[in-house]
C-alpha cells in the first residue's frame, strides 16, 4: 500500500495537549476536535492537514493518552505521520483508529511531495528515499482492517 500527500513539517516533542487542548475534550463531537486541532501551535495548520503527511521530529504525540489527538488528525484528513520516534500510547492509538504512523527519519520542507510505501517500508520525500521501520505483524493486521474496532468486528463469530 502506498500513501501520498504533501508534507507538513513539524518539530520534535509535539505533545497531545498541542494537538488537541484539554479544554476541547468534553464532547463526543469529532468536528470540534477537527476545528481546534493544533490551535495552540498554529491555528492555520488544521486546514492544511487534508491529504497531507506530517513529517515530524522525535517523540511525536508525547504527553496525555487522549485518543482524541489521533482521532482529530485522522478526521482532519491526514494521510499518515512519519517521525523518528513516537510516544508509545499515541502510536498505538493511531494504529487502533486506522491512522498510519511509521518510524523513520526523513528530512524535507513543508509542501514537498511525500510517498509512504507500506510494502517496501520506505518514505520518499524531497527527492530522497529512506527506509522506515516496518510495523509489527500485529499492527499491520490492525491497520489493514482499518483499526481495532473493525478488526474486532471482523473476528466475531
Amino acid at each position: 500500500m502506498k500513501l501520498e500527500g504533501d508534507a507538513v513539517c513539524l518539530g520534535a516533542d509535539i505533545d497531545t495537549d498541542v494537538i488537541i487542548a484539554g479544554r476541547y475534550l468534553r464532547t463526543k463531537d469529532r468536528k470540534i476536535w477537527v476545528e481546534h486541532v493544533f490551535e495552540d501551535l498554529d491555528p492555520s495548520l488544521g486546514s492544511r492537514l487534508r491529504g497531507a503527511v506530517i513529517v515530524a521530529g522525535n517523540n511525536f504525540g508525547c504527553g496525555s493518552s487522549r485518543e482524541q489527538a489521533a482521532v482529530a488528525l485522522k478526521e482532519a484528513g491526514l494521510v499518515a505521520i512519519v517521525a523518528p520516534s513516537f510516544s508509545r500510547i499515541f502510536f498505538r492509538n493511531a494504529i487502533n483508529i486506522g491512522l498510519p504512523v511509521v518510524e523513520g527519519d526523513c528530512h524535507c520542507t513543508s509542501g514537498d511531495h511525500v510517498v509512504v510505501d507500506l510494502d517496501e517500508w520506505t518514505v520518499t520525500c524531497g527527492g530522497t528515499r529512506v527506509p522506515v521501520r516496518p510495523l509489527s505483524a500485529r499492527m499491520q493486521e490492525l491497520l489493514r482492517a482499518g483499526g481495532l474496532v473493525h478488526h474486532w468486528r471482523s473476528k466475531k463469530p
Partner: protein, 404 residues
Amino acid sequence: MSTLSERVLGAGAGDYVDANVDRAYVHDGTGVLTLEAWKEMGCPGPAHPERLYILFDHIVPANNSTTAMLQRELRVFARSHGIHFSDIGGGVCHQLMGEGEVLPGEVVVGADSHSCTLGAFGAFATGVGATDMAAVWASGETWFRVPETIAVRLSGSFNGAAEAKDLALAVISKLGMDGASYKALEYIGEGTKLLSMEGRLTIANLATEAGAKTGLFYADDVTREYLLRFGHRVENQVPEPCTYVGEVRIDIGDLEPVVAVPPRVDTVKPVSSLEGLQLDQVFVGTCTNGRFEDLQRFSSIVKGKKVKVRTIVVPSSAEVLRKAADTGVLSSIIAAGCTIGTPGCGPCLGAHMGVISEGEVCLSTANRNFTNRMGIGGSIYLASVATAAASALAGVLTVPELVP
C-alpha cells in the same frame, strides 16, 4: 533471570504477549471515548466487570450540562454492568487504584498516561488509549511488546530539603523527555529502601514524562506494610540478576530542590537559580503530589503563617481529605489562607477550574508544564511540595528549608 517487567509479563524483552489484565480503569475523560469504541464493537457485556473501574476525577463536579450528560452515561453504564465506580469527589484514578486495589505482580492498564504510577507496587502498569481499553473491557486481555528496561540505581537518602519529586525530576533531566521511550524504568539499589510508598508513587508517576512505558519498584517491606493497612498480605519481590539496556545513577543525598521550567518537563534547574521568580498561583495536588504525606508536609511549613499568593490545594482522594481533616492538617492549610478543591485532578489539566490567565505563572506540584496546559498564555513551573509551600509563603519562587 528477568527484569521485573519480564517476570510479570512472563516473556523476554522484545517479545509480544497477550496478557490477562488484572485491573483496568478509565476516568470521566477517557471513559467517554472508551464507551463509544465499546458500543461500536457491539459486545453484549464486559468479559470481567469485577476487574474494571470507572473513576471520576478530571472534571468534578461537572462544570456544564454537556459534561454532566457524558458523566451520566458512564455512571449508568458502570452501575448496569457491575463495574467498580467512584463518583465525583472520590479522588484521582491513580490514587484510588493505589489505595489497596493494585497488588504486586499484577498487570494493570489505565486509560491515562500516568497509569505507570501503580508500578510503585511492583505491578506492570501502563497507560492505553480508549480503543485499546474498549478491547480490554470486551476480552479481559490486551497485547504488549515486553519492554527493555533502564535501571535507575538509587543510593543514599534525603539529607536536605529535597523530596521524592526532586528525585523524579532529576531522573527525567538525566534521561530527557523521550530518553526511555518504549522502555520500562526499574528503580533499584539501597536508596529505594528508605523511600515511603507515597514517595515511590510520586517517582513512578513521572516515569511517563521520560517516555517510559512504566516505572517499577520491587515490592519490599515498605510495600508489604502499606498494603497490610488495606488488608492485603503480599510477598516481597526479590530482584534477580538481569539485563538492563541502560543505567542512571542517583545519590539521593546529593539532590537539591529543583523546578521543571516550561514548556518541558526535562528542563530541570535548581530552585536556587530561579529564586525570586514572581508567582501568580500555587497549586498543590494531583496524582503526583496530592497524597496525605504531601498535604502533611505542606501544612507543616505553612502552619501559623499566611500565604502571599493565591494557593489552591486539592487532596488526591476523599480518604486523603478525611485524614487531613482528622489530623488538623486541613485546618492549618485553610488557616494559612489556601483554598481547598474537590478531591480529583483539579486545575492540573486546565479544563474547568484554577485556570491561569495569559502572562500568569503557576508553581505546581503536578507532572506537566506543557504550553497552555493550565490556561492559554500562562506558564507552569513544576516543583516539590516543600518548594510550593515555601514559595506560597513568599509569593515568589523560594528554596525550601529542611522540614522539621
